[in-house]
Structures are given as C-alpha cells and as structure tokens.
Subunit: 341 residues, 2 copies
Amino acid sequence: MNLEDIAKLAGVSRSTVSRVVNNDARVSDEVRTKVQATIDAVGYRPNANARALASHRTRAIGLVVPEDFSRFHVDSWYPLIIEAMLAATRDAGQTLMLIMEDTFSPGAGKRVISQFVDSGRVDGLLILQHSYRDHLSVPLLRAGVPTIHIAESDVTGTSWVDNNNLAGGEMVGRLFADLGVHKPLCVSATLEHVPTRRRLDGFQIVYPDTSVLITNHSLAQAEEALLQRLRDERYDAIFAINGWLAPIVYRVAATYGLSIPDELRLVSFDDFDVEMSERLQLTSVVQHTTLLASRAVRLLIDLVEGRAPPGEPVVLDSVLIPRGSCGSLVTASAQGGAAEE
Amino acid sequence: MNLEDIAKLAGVSRSTVSRVVNNDARVSDEVRTKVQATIDAVGYRPNANARALASHRTRAIGLVVPEDFSRFHVDSWYPLIIEAMLAATRDAGQTLMLIMEDTFSPGAGKRVISQFVDSGRVDGLLILQHSYRDHLSVPLLRAGVPTIHIAESDVTGTSWVDNNNLAGGEMVGRLFADLGVHKPLCVSATLEHVPTRRRLDGFQIVYPDTSVLITNHSLAQAEEALLQRLRDERYDAIFAINGWLAPIVYRVAATYGLSIPDELRLVSFDDFDVEMSERLQLTSVVQHTTLLASRAVRLLIDLVEGRAPPGEPVVLDSVLIPRGSCGSLVTASAQGGAAEE
DNA sequence: GCTCTTGTTGGGAGCGCTCCCAATGCATAC
DNA sequence: GTATGCATTGGGAGCGCTCCCAACAAGAGC
C-alpha cells in the first residue's frame, strides 16, 4: 500500500496525497478530508525509507551513550533521561536510535559520523557522556553534524543543554555560610567532568579554600576514601557534588557515629531519586531531568531544520530543595542566575 | 558520494561495487581488491535508506521498553540489558531503535506495528517488559512480525529467550531442604510476571506449601510489607524471587535484630549487581544478562532472515552462586535442566 | 568443430517517496 | 473584454540502492 494506491482510491494524484500526509497547506479542505478518510480507512503508513531517500531527512535522531553506561547505575540518571528523551522524541513525531560508543577512543567521532550520519540513519545527535575528554565534539563540529550535548561543554561552538551548575554550587556555598559552616568538604567522583567542576567553581565563590575529596565511580572505593578522610580530619559539612555519593556519606557518618545534620551537615546535587531523597531527608539541588531531555530534543530538531543557530547553550535554573540533612536556618529556596537562551 | 561515483572511480559498474559492498561471492579477487581500495580511499558509506527501500530490509531492530521503565531502576536490569543488546546489535552490523510503549494500553500492538514495522523503520522487535498482561504479543504474532520476548512467555507461538526459571526456583528449594529449612517465605513483587511465577513453581516442587508474600515495585512499600509479615510470623529462610528485594530483607532483618544467615537464611534471584552481592555475601541464582541479550539479538536476526523458525524458545542454564547468606552446608553449584534450542 | 557450463560483469527497472514545474480554474483589476 | 494574480492540482524526474536478466569469456566435454 503506497501513495499511488491511496491516490487511486481517493481519486486524486500522488502529489495531493503526499501533501495531505505532510500537512501541506496547498490542499483544499474538501480534498484533504476525503484523502485523510481513505488513509485512515486502509491504515496507510508512509514508508520512512523512501521519504528519507527523497527528502534527505530521516526524522530520526541518534542518542550517543558511553560504552559502559550501565556501570553508572549507581544513580538512575541514564534510565531516567533516556525515558524522557524517548517521550520527547515521540511527541515530536521522530524516532530515537541508540548509539553506543567508546568516546574515549580516538576514532569515535569518525565512526559515529560514518555509521550513523553519512549512511543517512540519523539527522542529528544527542550526546550523553561523563567526561569532556572525548573524541566526539571536535569531529562532529568540523563535520557540521547537528549535535546537542547534555552537559555543559567548554568546547567553543558546541550546543549544549544543562542546569546552571555554577549557580547551583554557589547556592550550596551560601547555604553553608548562612548555617555557619566553617570547614566543609566537597566530595566528587572526578573533576574532568565539566558540570562537576563548575559546581565546585560555584561553591568556591563562597568557600575559596574548601577541601575537596576526589574519589571515583566505584561505590566501594568512594566509601573507602571517605572513611579514611573522615578518620583523619574533622569537617562540619559535606557537599556531595554528585548525588549518588550522598548515601555513602550517610553510611560513613553512621560508622563514626556522626549524626546528620547535628554534627555533620549534608547537601547534594542531582535530586532525581526523589523517593530516596525523601527517605533520607536529603537536602539537594535538583536536576530537571525531564525538562532537560525535552529541551535537548526540541533544540536538536530545531537545529536540524535550521530553525535554531548552532552554538547556543540552554541553561536551566538551579533549585535547592531544603530537607533535614542540612539542619535548620534554611530560608533559601533560591533560584540560580538563569540565562535562558 | 554514491555507488555510481565509486564505480566510475574504480572503472567498474555500479553492480560490481554493490557486490563488493555486500560481500557477494561473484566478484573476482582482483576486482574486489581494487574496488575496496577506492571505497576505503574516499570513505564511502552506502546509504541505508536507499538500501532499505530497494531491499525491503532495514538492518535495524526495535527494542520495545515499557512506558515507565525508569521506575524500575531499583535494580539495574534495564541499563545492563540495553547495553548488552546494543553491543550485540553493533556486532551484527545492525542498529537499535528504542521504542517506548505503554504495553498495557489496548492499542499498543497496532501502534508499534504501524509506526515502526509498517513504515519500514525496523525489521523485527525485541520485547522487554515486566508483565505478560500486554497487548503486544497477540497482534505481533498475528501480523507475523519477527519478535523475540526477553522473558518466558505463555502465549503459544511466541519466541522467547530466558533463563531456566523453573529449574532455578527448584534449585533454591533443594538448597533450603539440604539446609534443613522448615518454614521458608517467598517474597516477590508480582506473580503476573511469568518468569517470577515459574521460579515460584520450581520452588514449590520442593516446598509445596510455602508461604508467599506479594509486595509491589515500590521499595518503601515492599519494606513495609515485609516488616509487617516478619513481625507477625517467624520464618527460618527467605527466598527473594526478585533480586532487588534482597537489600530490603537485610534492612528488615537488621530492624528485628535477626542475623543472616544464623537466624534467617537468604537466597535471591537475579545476581547482576555482583558488587552488591559480594558486599552483602548474598547467595543467588545468576541471570546471564549479557548472554541473554546476545542470544536474543542473534535469534531475532536469524528470524528476520528466515534462518530460524518462529516459536522456538531458548532456555539458558540457571546457576546458583553460593555465598554467605544461606549458611553452611552448601554443596550445590548445580545446573538447571538445560533445554538449549 | 560445436555446445554446454561456470564465473564474472554490466545495465535496466523499480523500490516509494519528495521536489519542482506546468497546467488549470477562477476571482479580481484594468 | 483582456490581463493578472492566487489557489489548487497533476505528473516527471530523481533520490541511491538491489534485483534480475543478459552478455561475454573461458574452459570442459563430446
């Protein structure tokens, strides 16, 4: 069943059916109704491949995830954002193709371009990765592939969507200051990740000399490192720059019999596991995961269709949700310095 | 850059280049080498859409995930299996399209067929879902869409890939019997899920009159339900039919001061978070997640290409990994009744 | 010598669309 | 009345492949 068949059934030309399918204005209401009725009656679906071949547009976008993304299940970021992107893509009438790439290996960019862009599988790319040390940004930029990074980037010319990490970090700093914190400790998995670094930058606006503990992405090793640090030294507050570290802070505090928030105040980023945050009474700066995903998808489609210029970052507001873990004297439900487009 | 261009550069015909690209045997070695060299030199990539249009094969498969899959991050099943499928798909030279569907809503099957199969986006489907109460199996079966379910199914005629749930459940039962367990409790999220039910069936071969506690997929509610049950009644062993329930058992046991394994023996299914299992010393029946994924992908591609008949289930062996949580007297590293192909 | 097979190559037709241009009808303006 | 514009419709060309059949050469068998 193809365009021509529908045309014959409806007594019009192939072109007219095509116009109806594509919502082209140049069809009389009368004809449109008739054609649409025939389409619905026979359950006709235009062939995506023929469309793509003729129009040079696939109506599909690629989501690039790092090779080992399942190792990062310590937080539920990946399923959550993938789900949200899937919903946004579907709403836009497009499809989502998953691309797994070892973005640290030199050929990554070329591989993705040749296998997915040049072969006409996707119109553009969404990049989800945990470090800026990638081999993706530059080749993609040079090849002119429409691309949105889901994370603040420091490669000039790239388009990205992210929360306001700097403002968020600063908010945590101000909160600590208001609470009279003297000696805070920042805990983070890696500072190679731009958003993480920016959060720390923001915090350091208020506490320039703060201690920082860099662990890695293993739960066990992070716990070990924190145990050791808290044995050696005494802090009155902890800023868990990456949210999945927060449960570890609780465990370590329990080990040393430190009460949260009385002896140790705690604030974290990435409030996407709300059930857990509520249970732990964890004060945190939220990630608008769903919003982030839908903005990214829309921006990418706009980029593909030439409605948006490349290189325009989108920054979403940071919001701090005060709960029990930071102690009292919480007045702030402050807003970050928004810089919407 | 297309076939014709390469043909001109290499001094052969379009057909010959096509044969080289598709690894067709009917090309002399001499010509093949020459053509391949030109292809490599200019970095030519065949257009996937033109190929699909001409051959009626997209070389893409669709992975159907349930609408709310991120809610099920209580275990890391989704990221893990998606990652493994992505790898398997890539190895097979194909691509993976993600499809999110509310498989409980009546139109699900028709929607997936019309939007992804009829429109020529994918050649076949992989189904990942948490209940058999779906509106997918029957329409897909009727429409003759190549489909593999990643979970034992009781709809006749469907092809599926799964571990041997029955044998696994029975193994846990035998282990309990060997350990002298008198009054076990089985905990599970829902028995609507066929694999879950089959695990219980297997367990009941040994303990026909076992108590069963059905909770749901919320961590908090599961904990509440178990707390209540263990307050009311005394058990000497727990079988966590779904692996993510195991940490809850530990929490509840700690609440009542019950030591594991001395006062309460514990065995679970789904040993895919090995780090956690090791830390908790959790005895469990493993899921061959990676193997499951690659078998499913290969089987689907075989189905699409007519190399495998539909309706043939693939059952992987169940293996029990004994650790501390079940107590001593562990002899079994038994194998389930394998029924390979 | 001839036919028959086998191995290799070339090119036409067509997959189902979109895009462009031409054609038509009809209302409006002079 | 004729010229001009706009709204609507139709059909050709072509997107870049695959598939099929024809063509040809070379060797085998009689």
